[in-house]
Symmetry: C2
Subunit: 383 residues, 2 copies
Amino acid sequence: MDNFTFYSPTKFVFGKDTESEAGSLVKAFGGSKVLIHYGGGSAVRSGLMGRVKKSLEASGIPYCELGGVKPNPRSGLVYEGIELCRKEGIDFILAVGGGSAIDSSKAIAAGTLYDGDFWDFYCGKPIEKALGVGTILTIAAAGSEGSGDSVITKEEGMFKRGTGSELIRPKFSILNPALTQSLPAYQTACGITDIMAHLYERYLTNTKDVEVTDRLIEALLLTMKNEGPKVIANPDDYEARANIMWAGTMAHTNSCGVGRSQDWNSHNIEHELSALYDCAHGAGLAVTMPVVFRYVMDHDKARFAQVARRVWEVDTAEEGIEAFKNFLISIGMPQTMGELGGKEEDIPTLVKNLCYGDGRTGTIQGFVTLDEEDCTKIYKNML
Amino acid sequence: MDNFTFYSPTKFVFGKDTESEAGSLVKAFGGSKVLIHYGGGSAVRSGLMGRVKKSLEASGIPYCELGGVKPNPRSGLVYEGIELCRKEGIDFILAVGGGSAIDSSKAIAAGTLYDGDFWDFYCGKPIEKALGVGTILTIAAAGSEGSGDSVITKEEGMFKRGTGSELIRPKFSILNPALTQSLPAYQTACGITDIMAHLYERYLTNTKDVEVTDRLIEALLLTMKNEGPKVIANPDDYEARANIMWAGTMAHTNSCGVGRSQDWNSHNIEHELSALYDCAHGAGLAVTMPVVFRYVMDHDKARFAQVARRVWEVDTAEEGIEAFKNFLISIGMPQTMGELGGKEEDIPTLVKNLCYGDGRTGTIQGFVTLDEEDCTKIYKNML
C-alpha cells in the first residue's frame, strides 16, 4: 500500500426531509448570505426550492438565486455566478442539484475570491481561497457532494477540465434519497453507471497488496449490481435509492481508493465525448468502459478476473467485462458511440483534444499509458 | 435505512515514517504546547518517542510527557493528566499508543477545561469543550483514532464506562503500519478480534434493507479474515499490517454503520470481564462473541446465515458462528472465561454490574434485549 492522506471533513446529513436542515447547516458553517445555485425547473416544480428557501428564512439567512446549470456545466454561467456573488456580497453557495450544480458552485466559490480568470484553476493553478459550499443532492451519481473536485466545460473549444482542492470541498451535504425518486429512468441509470465508473477507476491499480480497498470497492460494486435494477424497475423504491445514494457518496470520498494508484483513463476518454456531443457523462462512460477494459485487460488479467469472480460471479476477465457490459445494457445504457451522436470522422479531433489537451503531450496515463494510436483504436472500437 | 448524520473530520496520515509529520500537524491544528501521553516503555525503547519529540522540536512546539497508560485505562492517570495540563498550560494532547492511550488522552482533553469531575462525562453529561487531540497509533484495534468515543475504568468499583463527543474526536491520526510490526502475536490477535467485533456489532441490526452497509462491513470482515493470519504467521508483513490498520480505522469511523440500529451487547458483556479481571479487551471479546451470537441467533437467523455465506463461505447461521470461533482460535485467542481468569462464583457480580451499572435498570439493549437471566446464562456458557 502506498502512503496517503485521507481527510473528508464534510458533514453528511442523510435521509427523509433532511433538506429542512439547510438553514441551520449554512448558519453552523458560517454562512450569512447565500447564493442558491441550481439547474432546471424540476427543483422548483417539485417544491424542493420552496422548502429550501423556507429553511433559510427560518434561520434568518438572506439569499439570491442563480438557476440554469446544465449537465456538463459551462464556464459562462460560472462567470455570471461570480459576478452575482461579488455584487450581492454572498459568502456561502448552496448547490441544489446533481454533480453539475455542485461543480459549478465550487467554481463560483473559488472564482469569487480570485482576481484573475477562474479558468486558471482548471489549468493547474492551485486554489488559495473560496467561499463555503453546501449541497442538497438530487441525483446519486457524481460524488461531488463528498469531494473537493470540480469539472467544468469551457465553451470556447469545448474543453472539459477538472480541478481539486480541499477549499472547495462541501462543508455539508444533504442527501435525501426521496429527492431522487422523481428522476427519469435514463438519468437514474446514468448515475448508476457514473458511480460504478468511480469504483472501477479506483479498482484498476498498479499497486500491489491492497486487499482492504479492493474489498471495499467490490462491496460498493455489489451494492450497485443488486440495488440498481430495483430502482430501474421501481423508481419509488426508497430503500434501494438510499443504498445507491450512500454507495455513490462512499464511492467518491476516496475512502476506498486511498493508498493505491488509480486509473481515470475511461473518464478522460469519455470527457471528450460529453464535451463534443454534450451527451450524458454516465451514458458516455457506459460506452467507454467495456471497450477500454477489453483494450487494457492483458496488462493485469488477474485483477480483471478477481472482480469478475467477486462481483460478477463469473470466472474470467473477459466474462467479467461482458457481464458488466450486459448489466449496463440491462439498465438502459447505450453500447456505441453512434448512440451518443458520435461520428467516425470526429475521432481525430477527439484524440487530439484527449492526448494534447489539458497540458498533455501525446499520451494519457493511468492503469496503462495510452498514446494517440491506442486512443484512436479505442474510439473506433466504440463505433 | 434510518436517517443519519455522518461527520468524520479527522485527518488520517497513513504510511511509513509518517510520525515525522507530528510537529507540523499539531501546528496546523492550532496546538502550541503539547502533552505527549503514552503507555509503557516500548514506545521509548523502539525509538518512536525520540522521533516524535524531534518532530515537535523541529516545529518549535514545546511539550511535556505523561506515560504509564495501561490497557483498560484508569481514571487515576486521567486526573493526573488533567492536573499536569492545567499546571503546564497545555493546549493539545498527542496520544502515542493504542486505544488506551487515545481514550485516556480524550478524557484528559475534556477534563482539563471542565470545573467538575471528568467522570461526569462518563455518566452521561455532555462534553462542552475540550483541548485538541492528535494520535500516533501503535496498534490496530480500538478504532479510537477515528472516533469521538472514549472508554475509561474507574478504580473505585472498577466501573468501565464510555462517553462520546465530536469535541474529543482526534484532529489528526498518524497511522504507520510499521509501528505495529513489533507487537507480540497475542496483542496483534487481540486487535484483530476487537476490529472484527466492531464490525459484528454493526452487522447485527434490526434495520431492514441496508445492503450498502452490510456489504461494506462484509468487505472489512473479509479483509480481516484474509490478512489476519498473515500477520500472525509473519509479524513483519508490512502490507498485511497496512490492510489491517486501514480496515481497523474504517471499521470504527462508522461509515459502514450509519443508518442502521447496532448491537454492542457483546462489548457491554465483555466490558464487565475486562473491568473485573483486567484481561485484554480483544481476548474477552473472543470468548464473548461466539457465545452471545449463538444465544441470540434465532432472533434473525437469516442475517447470521448471510454473513456465514458471504464471509465464511459456509451455509448456515450455526456454521458461520462456528467458523468465526475457529478463526479466533486459529489466531491464538481464548475460548473460555476461565482462560481470562474468570470464575463461576463471580457471575452474580458480573451480571449485577452489567444489568444495573451505567444507569441500566435490569436489561441491556441491542440486537436483542437481554435481562439478568439471559446474561447469567451467557456468562455460564462462557465457562
